[in-house]
Symmetry: C2
Subunit: 214 residues, 2 copies
Amino acid sequence: MRLAELSRRSGVSTATIKYYLREGLLPPGRQINATTAEYDEEHLRRLRLVRAMIQVGQVPVAKVREVLGHVDDDSLGRSMRLGASLWALPQVPEPDEEDEYVQAAHQEVAALLDRLGWRNAKLLAAISPAYRSLVVAVAAFRRLGYDWGVEQLAPYAELMHRTAVLDLDNMETHPSEAERIEFAVLGAILNEPLLQALHRLAQEEETTRRYGFA
Amino acid sequence: MRLAELSRRSGVSTATIKYYLREGLLPPGRQINATTAEYDEEHLRRLRLVRAMIQVGQVPVAKVREVLGHVDDDSLGRSMRLGASLWALPQVPEPDEEDEYVQAAHQEVAALLDRLGWRNAKLLAAISPAYRSLVVAVAAFRRLGYDWGVEQLAPYAELMHRTAVLDLDNMETHPSEAERIEFAVLGAILNEPLLQALHRLAQEEETTRRYGFA
DNA sequence: GGTACTCGGATAGTGACGCTCACCAACGAG
DNA sequence: CTCGTTGGTGAGCGTCACTATCCGAGTACC
């Protein structure tokens, strides 16, 4: 198929596809002659993945390129590939370690991980962007005078852990290793907007249950 | 306190504070004379809230203004005020209702709400941005060949509902109505990055538990 | 074989966003 | 009186995700 058809089948404008090609988000098509290139189903699939990451996952173009690099990198083990992809996701700015709220948040999060027995997460704390994001979020609450501590966080963490278990169980239903990796990466990126939407919908449901529509 | 002190105490540059004032995210200070304005603790608090929304919650400036308008609008009831704030949050682009995947996703989500007995959410479906986001996310999965149906979604929805229950329980611990509203809005906005961070950390924990660090 | 169309590729431009800079006249401390 | 600082304003910056335009080379159709 040629560029125009790829565009038609994906619903993405030719100009945008050209942009993705230029940015290295799509591998170039098979060159037939100076003015024609041939694309296949794999290109279509990759294009849809890219669109999903950018539009649904709000992943910036540069990060998409990075994530795809990890997905295609056969030299990594499973944990590393998944981790590398997750870590490439958009991040919160670095916490200011001098800040007293940040320091208190560090303590709180460390206590939380102890309470939960998340030993691996503790080991990853120094390098994991998720850990840093958590510290930043907790610090933001504290700065506003809301003292979220272990007591408040633990039930949320428990629920999120169950969510993660579901994620991985779903992943394991896929037979081939390659497919599992793609699903894991994809799931890590697309699950979040989905969870967020479910969470907001659940909040609306619960709010109206408790207080009605007024 | 004057602008420079507000800047020092909040860690936000004076230029940025001026920008927020111009954009109406902060109410103007009490004018003392042509070159001096006085700000108080309320300004500081509001500024921290704005920063938290923008930096942690990734809420665009225009949305922050909108949300603050709802927070300050005493004419609304609780559900409406919370709803108005939640609905002002960044959204996914409108789903293309012509698209077959979107139509299938609609069916799937409707079936999900039936299964869960989320009657209020069903009523809100036509107007709720959360509902639309959910449809877009499910459609994105389907387009990539992963058929997330009621079976896969229901356990996630159940967990998210429990999360929402926690949210509202936490909100109800606050004594005054005004404080509850602020906490609810804030929670709705800041909880998401926090949940996301917990989710990612839980994924890392669970991945390494199952497959080690390799 | 003529011609109108389409192809891919490349360059430059767009509009939104979140600041950030430079400048200004008006003050206030020494 | 001088000099630094104040709050307010207009314009500018860098990034991002496209998008519009042009080009010369091929292709389909009559």
